[in-house]
Structures are given as structure tokens and as C-alpha cells.
């Protein structure tokens, strides 16, 4: 039975991916900050036939990553899926949410980097042996088109763009450094999705995004490692 570890699994894309992988017969390690408050995950637990485990993970507290590693031990992880992310206290579609030049909140800037970049780096380092010991050997981090410098036509969003470009950079370095272990590593843009982060005006619904993401991950080979993938099978420039 293939196994996936998903961060940010309590809502939005992480929850959607958890549901999809469970429905496809996978073993799912679902990680989130507040498992006791993750009502949807708790409901899934009841019908998961022991294929779902829920873990406490807070990417601002890296010890929680190591605690999950202690629980999982050497069990293989076919797909390591970094979904947990942070935009800021005000989402993009709300007043004041555009992170405009001259209004930068540097506390938010640091937190965004910690959650969106240091977090995935720590998760990949911690579980690399589990991935290397699996059949599929895939590490995917949910990035954003906001992390494409080449596609940036509208400016703004400084802390968020910076974090997503940075996470693209580390996934590219992993694709090179982990190649001889046959690990496939890539960032993936999920589309602009109607989630709590994306807001109600976003382009696509979560179901469209997560089914696309799962398809893209299924089709990933070494040839896709180190590329900037998109949920619909296309590719973005850096």
C-alpha cells in the first residue's frame, strides 16, 4: 500500500488531498497544528480502516517534526507533500491583504519564511530516509504562481512572493542533490484556489485543484524533478 505524508491536512488543499489519497487506498499520515480541532480529519479517521494517522505538526516549532519522525520511524513514505503554508494575517482578497510596498510587516515577513521555506526544508530533511526507502520516492512542495519571478506582472505580495521563490530554490537544489538517491523533488503550483487562503474570488475550486495535483504527482518521473509543475500538467518559468 503506498503511503503519503501531508502537512496542513486539516483544511483546504491538504484536507482535499487527504480525502483523495484515502479514497484511492493509500496510507495517509495527516499533519496539522491542532488535531483536536480538525473536525473533518477526525471524521475521516472513523471510516479510514486504520489507513489514516493524524499527527501534531507546527512548522514554527521544528521539534514537532522530529516527534512525528519518532512516531513513524522507518516506515516508507512514497510521497512527501508539503502543503502547509502561510500568506499573512490578511488574505490577498481582503482589504490590506496585498502586502503593498511601504506597508511591510516584518514580523509577518519572518513568519512567512519560517512556515513556507524553513518548514518544508526541515520536513524534507527529517523524512528523506523514509522517502528514499519507498517505491515512488517523491517530494513535492506546494508553491504558488506568486513565486514565479518571470510571471510577476502585478508586483506587491513581498513576503509571500519572496517565500515561494525561496521554496522553489530549495526544491531545485534538492532535485540535484537527491538525484543519486532517485528522489524526485519539485515545487507545484496548485492554481488559485477557493480555499481559506485563496479567498472566494479565486479561479478554481479545491476539488479541481487536488485531483489535478494528484494526477501530476502520479505522472512524475525523474524527468520532472527540479521543474516548476502546475496542477493542470503545465509548467511555470522561474
Amino acid at each position: 500500500m503506498p503511503s503519503v505524508l501531508i502537512t496542513g491536512a486539516n483544511r483546504g488543499l491538504g484536507l482535499g488531498l487527504t480525502q483523495l489519497y484515502l479514497a484511492d487506498g493509500w496510507q495517509v499520515q495527516a499533519c496539522c497544528r491542532l488535531p483536536a480541532e480538525a473536525v473533518e480529519l477526525q471524521e475521516l479517521l472513523e471510516n479510514s480502516e486504520d489507513r489514516l494517522s493524524v499527527h501534531l505538526l507546527d512548522l514554527e516549532n521544528l521539534q514537532t517534526v522530529e516527534a512525528i519522525k519518532d512516531t513513524i520511524g522507518d516506515n516508507p513514505i512514497d510521497v512527501l507533500l508539503n502543503v502547509a503554508g502561510y500568506y499573512g494575517p490578511t488574505i490577498i482578497s481582503e482589504p490590506g491583504g496585498l502586502q503593498i510596498f511601504g506597508t511591510t510587516d516584518y514580523g509577518v515577513f519572518e513568519k512567512t519564511f519560517h512556515v513556507n521555506v524553513i518548514g518544508p526544508m526541515k520536513v524534507c530533511e527529517t523524512f528523506v530516509e523514509n522517502v528514499a526507502g519507498s517505491d515512488q520516492k517523491k517530494m513535492v512542495t506546494i508553491s504558488s504562481i506568486a513565486g514565479s519571478i518571470g510571471e510577476n506582472k502585478s508586483g506587491k505580495l513581498y513576503p509571500y512572493r519572496a517565500s515561494k521563490v525561496a521554496v522553489n530554490a530549495i526544491m531545485k537544489s534538492m532535485s540535484i542533490e537527491l538525484r543519486d538517491r532517485e528522489i524526485i523533488a519539485a515545487p507545484l503550483h496548485p492554481g488559485w484556489v477557493r480555499t481559506d487562503m485563496g479567498g472566494p474570488l479565486a479561479d478554481i475550486d479545491a476539488a479541481t485543484s487536488v485531483s489535478g495535483i494528484k494526477n501530476v504527482i502520479e505522472g512524475m518521473t525523474m524527468a520532472h524533478s527540479g521543474r516548476y509543475l502546475v496542477y493542470d500538467g503545465s509548467e511555470l518559468p522561474w
Binding site: 516584518y106 515577513f109 521555506v117 512572493r161 530554490a169 542533490e177
Partner: protein, 238 residues
């Protein structure tokens, strides 16, 4: 007389840029953490005919940036040059300095990000009106080839690459957001230079790098804004 403000001006590329700009009769605000400790900066001051003004500034200490802005008031700054940067500890050419996978110091990651991304962001926000009030209206952040995701074929150096890619992202957003003020915002790769950071094996000397960067500064215009420029006049992919 054109005016430059340089962070990290006590040594290496920052000092070299101060020298070539002074030689071309610019007024130079040279900023560094500890002016008293830089003998070369002191010597330069004695030869500068009053055109070199030395200021205490630490890009990690935002209050020091604001204090300098208060003391400069509305004086125009033709070229804001973010040179201060940090590779990490140990340095690039020291044992263990390659920031290999599995070997991250995440406290150092935050210092690298604060110095290389958040510092320049704060500098640009604080001095934007001074730049807008000048004739040349230039904001340049020294980036690195290591911040090019597309050019990365060696892997490793996670924290440093992430910071320079993120720096490129914010300069690109500034090029868009500040275009209506007529401000030119770019990232500039100085070459791999024999400085304290670059190490003794680097192929380029400081003189070649700063002479090239001076030419870039002389010739830069709005059509270059938002690009990833190189000291030798070429351009780099993201």
C-alpha cells in the same frame, strides 16, 4: 553631484563601490556596522574631499536604518546600493560551508534571510522618497548567481540560494510597484569575487567587479528595471 548610499561599505564590494564612485566625483554615504573598525574606510575619508560620509548602520537593526533616514532628511539619493550580505556560518569556502542537505542550521537561516532579504526590503522602504527625489532614481541589490534557480546545476547552499532568490523576487515586485515614481529597481550579480565572502579561489577580483558594476550604474535606465543584471553587462535568467 550624484549621491550614492551603500550598505556593507566597510570592506569587499561595498568598499570597492565607494572607491569607484568617489573617484567619479559622487557623494557617497557609506554605511557599515562598525565604522571605527574599518581602517580602509577611514583612509578613504581622508582622501575624499568631504564627499564621503560614514554612517553606522546594521541591516539587522531596523531602528538604525530609520535613524539614518532621519539624519538624512529629504536629501536625494541617486543610487541606493544594498551590498551588505551574509552567506552563513561557516563561510562558503570553509569546511562544512556548502550548506549540504541534512546539515542545516535553521537559526542561521533566519539571520541569512534577515540580512539578505528583509534588510534590503527595509532599506528600500525607508529611503524610497530620497531615491524618488533624485535625478537617477536607482535601487540596486547585490544578488548572486546562486539566486538563479534556472542556473542551479550544483545543488546545495540552501539557505543562501533561498535568500538570494527571494531578494530577486522583491526587487522584481519593486520594479513594478515603483515604476510610476520613475524608480529603476534591479538585482545585480557582482560575479564570484575574491572577497571575504567569495574566498581566495574566486575567479574575479574586486576591481574588475566594481568597475563593471559602476558601468552598469552609469548606463542603467528604466528599461532595465526588474531585470537580473550581471556586472559585465549581461543579464541572467531567474
Amino acid at each position: 553631484m550624484p549621491t550614492a548610499l551603500i550598505s556593507g561599505a566597510s570592506r569587499g564590494l561595498g568598499l570597492g563601490l565607494a572607491e569607484v564612485l568617489l573617484a567619479d566625483h559622487w557623494l557617497v554615504h557609506a554605511c557599515c556596522r562598525n565604522p571605527e573598525a574599518s581602517e580602509r574606510l577611514k583612509l578613504l575619508k581622508t582622501e575624499a574631499e568631504g564627499r564621503l560620509l560614514v554612517h553606522t548602520l546594521d541591516v539587522l537593526d531596523h531602528s538604525s536604518i530609520e535613524a539614518l533616514a532621519s539624519s538624512l532628511g529629504g536629501q536625494p539619493i541617486d543610487a541606493l546600493l544594498n551590498v551588505a550580505g551574509y552567506y552563513g556560518t561557516p563561510g562558503l569556502t570553509e569546511p562544512g560551508g556548502l550548506q549540504q542537505f541534512g546539515n542545516q542550521d535553521f537559526d542561521d537561516w533566519m539571520k541569512i534571510y534577515r540580512t539578505n532579504v528583509i534588510g534590503p526590503m527595509k532599506m528600500c522602504e525607508v529611503f524610497v522618497e530620497n531615491v524618488a527625489a533624485s535625478k537617477r532614481k536607482i535601487m540596486i541589490s547585490l544578488s548572486s548567481e546562486l539566486g538563479s534557480i534556472g542556473e542551479n546545476d550544483l545543488g546545495k547552499m540552501y539557505a543562501y540560494r533561498a535568500s538570494k532568490a527571494a531578494l530577486n523576487a522583491i526587487m522584481k515586485s519593486m520594479s513594478i510597484d515603483l515604476s510610476e515614481k520613475g524608480i529603476v529597481a534591479v538585482s545585480l550579480h557582482p560575479g564570484w569575487v575574491r572577497t571575504d565572502m567569495g574566498g581566495p579561489e574566486a575567479p574575479c577580483d574586486v576591481q574588475t567587479s566594481v568597475a563593471g558594476m559602476k558601468k552598469v550604474i552609469d548606463e542603467i535606465s528604466l528599461k532595465h528595471s526588474g531585470k537580473f543584471m550581471v556586472y559585465n553587462g549581461s543579464e541572467m535568467g531567474w
